[in-house]
Amino acid sequence: MEFVLSELCDQVMTAHAGHKPLFVCGGGSKSFYGNYRPVTPQDGHCRLDMTAYNGIINYQPSELVVTVRAGTSLAVLEAELAEKDQMLAFEPPHFSESATVGGCVAAGLAGPRRMTVGGVRDFVLGARLLDSQGRLLSFGGEVMKNVAGYDVSRLLAGSQGIFGAIVDVSLKVLPKPFEECSLRFEATQHEALDHFARWRSQPLAISATSWTALDDGSSGAQSRAGANVEGIVTVRLSGAPPAIRAAKASVGGEELGVEQAANWWMALREQTHSFFKRNQPLWRVALPPTTPVQDFGLPTLVEWGGGQRWLSGDIDAHAIRAWAQRLGGHATLFRPAGGVIPSDGVFHPLAAGVAAITRRLKQELDPAGLFNPGRMVLEL
């Protein structure tokens, strides 16, 4: 076994022996996400730093698969793929230059292309897990189709490290689209959702959509979310030239310059758009995309054809969760005000049956409760 990896295993076994919780860390770019508590040496918690275990293990462009060590920089991996005109199609947000592949998979966050290609778990083919006994367990593999045993590697996507440290991961990659172009036109949120619904049932080469208010809310405290607030729809088309031509004619609007378009989607993916810079609590509401406009009197930004809606501002957590749940979705306090985690955590409470299975899974796979305690579910 490689030295770095055996060191990591040793650290886990030491922590296990000393009953000390471990916080699995990559580049720390998403440490704000989840019920994160800063680790201090005084509280007896330890960090399991994955960044030293890095590098691409195997990249087979013609098989559309790459196997990477968890500590590998996400930027380095994406640059390597770009050299072969390929990409991580789920467009994971980095949130910082320090972002690692392991953190990307453990956080399970996806960017603008999510609505058409799927999320992180849709691209995970296999993973190795360093478990609480310091053992390396391998699930899945490097092939597209694999039903040998339960699909534990996809479970690890978005599991926030609660079962152990993802050591390396095999991801499906896709060719970059031959061509992309972004279009923009004015529409209220209500009109935007209508457009998204109409496009959904047509074979159009749409790879991302967004709706933003014309006034992003930085100027006043008026209701910014109602159905009639003026705003802008931005649509990205991806594919072969004939597909783009056909979709352009259907979608309409003004074409953005190449750089302007790239900047726009990057600003949404990385949350550098002014909407995300308001120093207010940021709520992520995942909803069935057909859900009509809901007015909470807060600035709103819509992505993923209506499936992901961001709300910025102070709002009662119970109210927003009850509302999201009634509509078949859920609400996450993505960025709490001042980074302070509320006592009931940032995530939507689990339904009783799902909570019971989650608890038993954690007890079975990490019986000592070693990894990332509370990060995903407060009492686990």
Partner: protein, 499 residues
């Protein structure tokens, strides 16, 4: 019957007699939903893999979710194993009954609750046939993408259990990519929902874990599937090659050119010779391998892509290239591929279909090794291959009336699967482990990994009553398999990189 997999059904015996279990079930189900006479239960003794049989003492065919809940509660109370079954088309013995258990058939859950063109989703019951979903969605210009070859018969519930694929899954994904939500009855008789019609659900992605779990974690009563717009046009290129290597290289070149074909299949010469007299699809039976490569999209898009595919094939040394001229011809080209299994049944009394998946770069070596094994086991083997995603279906031809041929066929199959694992692939791409490949699980996974699977099983099904003794081998089973199986600690291809 079976030399390698002797079902060990001795433990988990209920302390209750069949009569007592029947009595309990009669309290919660109408009489017409319970079968227990041998002439009624006999049809359920196996699934699509008829090598593995067990007569279920009781078959229940509930009609409502509350009946499923009641069955689960009674079975749990009496410690009776439950095996769920969809259409029974599975190819790994996953729905083989438990000899002391209840077989839970979901055939009566055959309603399509809704097809919604606005959300592009359908809500269906598990017994609905795969193809019936696309038929119901067709008036809206939508369809359900995963298309296993058995799609006229197989049920969506079975697809969820096996994470079924199909010839279009390289571009459109597997069941796991196309199911948004499932409603599940747990062994406790509780109803839970996994996934969501929203892009994600709070907490762990239990839906991804559940799909492909072969009926061992819960019983599905309702499924929301994603529908996608039907492409305006589709065409297929059929190309002939003088060697398997050349065909494999052509596949590599297509993907390296940034094309993700809608379907990409390879058949070797034995397979085309087997299929052609049966289907008359116009296959080149002289070629060592043929490729079927499909493009879909708008008419313009398809024209553009088909041209590029043809160019790439010619550069890779295709000896013949033919593009489907119309929809009828496209379907005819595919008919040969989709009928490969029935065609095998036509030229041989029996066939045994394997399902290993390999990194495609090892294709030529693996097919070469299979050819050598034909001599070693004195049996013929035809190969059809989902070339785009590396999923290999060798069809071993044998005659079950000759007992030694059965044994040789099974050993041949086991050798192929182990070879797939050795080159960095997997035992099963889409048919599942079931009963059939449980021994080879000891080869692909370490004991610690198998224990992790058992841990997952316990988290969903603490008493271990759902489809017990399948998929995940016990320590004893692996020890026994290891003894009779000569590894000698040596790998057949020591020079191959493995990950």
């Amino acid at each position: 019957m079976n030399s390698l997999v002797e079902p060990t059904l001795r433990h988990t015996e209920s302390t209750f007699s069949t009569a007592q279990v029947l009595d309990a079930l009669h309290h919660v189900l109408p009489a017409h939903c319970i079968l227990h006479r041998e002439e009624d239960t006999r049809p359920y003794e196996c699934d699509g893999l008829s090598l593995y049989r067990a007569l279920p003492p009781i078959v229940v065919l509930p009609e409502t979710e509350s009946q499923v809940i009641a069955v689960m509660r009674e079975c749990k109370r009496l410690s009776v194993p439950i095996v769920a079954r969809g259409a029974g088309t599975g190819l790994s013995g996953g729905a083989m009954p438990h000899a002391q258990g209840v077989l839970l058939g979901l055939a009566k859950f055959n309603r399509i609750h809704s097809v919604d063109p606005v959300s592009a989703t359908a809500v269906v019951e598990p017994g609905v046939r795969n193809l019936a979903i696309s038929e119901a969605a067709a008036p809206y210009g939508l369809y359900y993408a995963p298309d296993p070859s058995s799609q006229v018969a197989c049920s969506i519930g079975g697809n969820v259990a096996e994470n079924s694929g199909g010839v279009h899954c390289l571009k459109y994904g597997l069941t796991v990519h196309n199911v948004l939500r499932v409603r599940v009855v747990t062994i406790d008789g509780d109803v839970i929902e996994l996934g969501s019609e929203a892009p994600d659900a709070p907490g762990l992605d239990l839906l991804a874990l559940f799909i492909g779990s072969e009926g061992m974690l819960g019983v599905v009563t309702e499924i929301t599937v994603k529908l996608i717009p039907k492409p305006a046009c589709a065409q297929v290129v059929m190309a002939s090659f003088s060697s398997v290597e050349a065909a494999g290289q052509a596949v590599t070149n297509v993907i390296a050119a940034g094309i993700i074909p809608a379907g990409l299949e390879m058949m070797d010469r034995r397979a085309t010779q087997m299929v052609e007299p049966f289907v008359k699809a116009g296959y080149d039976v002289e070629a060592q391998a043929i490729l079927l490569c499909e493009s879909d999209g708008t008419a313009e898009e398809v024209e553009h892509e088909i041209q590029r595919m043809e160019e790439i094939f010619r550069q890779a040394g295709a000896t013949r290239c033919q593009v489907s001229r119309d929809e009828a011809e496209r379907l005819l080209f595919w008919a040969g591929r989709k009928n490969a299994f029935p065609a095998a049944g036509r030229i041989s009394p029996d066939y045994y279909c394997m399902d290993g998946t390999i990194p495609r770069r090892h294709l030529a070596r693996v097919l070469g090794a299979i050819e050598q094994m034909e001599d070693e086991f004195s049996l013929r083997c035809a190969n059809v291959f989902h070339a785009g995603d590396g999923n290999l279906h060798p069809l071993i031809l044998f005659d079950s009336c000759k007992p030694d041929e059965v044994e040789r066929a099974e050993k041949f199959g086991a050798a192929i699967l182990e070879l797939c694992v050795q080159v960095g692939g997997t035992l099963t791409g889409e048919h599942g482990v079931g009963m059939e490949k449980i021994n080879q699980m000891c080869v692909q996974f370490s004991r610690d990994e198998l224990d992790a699977f058992l841990a997952v099983k316990r988290a969903f099904d603490p008493p271990g009553l759902l489809n017990p003794e399948k998929v995940v081998p016990t320590l004893a089973r692996c020890a026994e398999y290891g003894k009779m199986h000569v590894h000698g600690g040596e790998l057949s291809f020591p020079d191959l990189a493995r990950f």
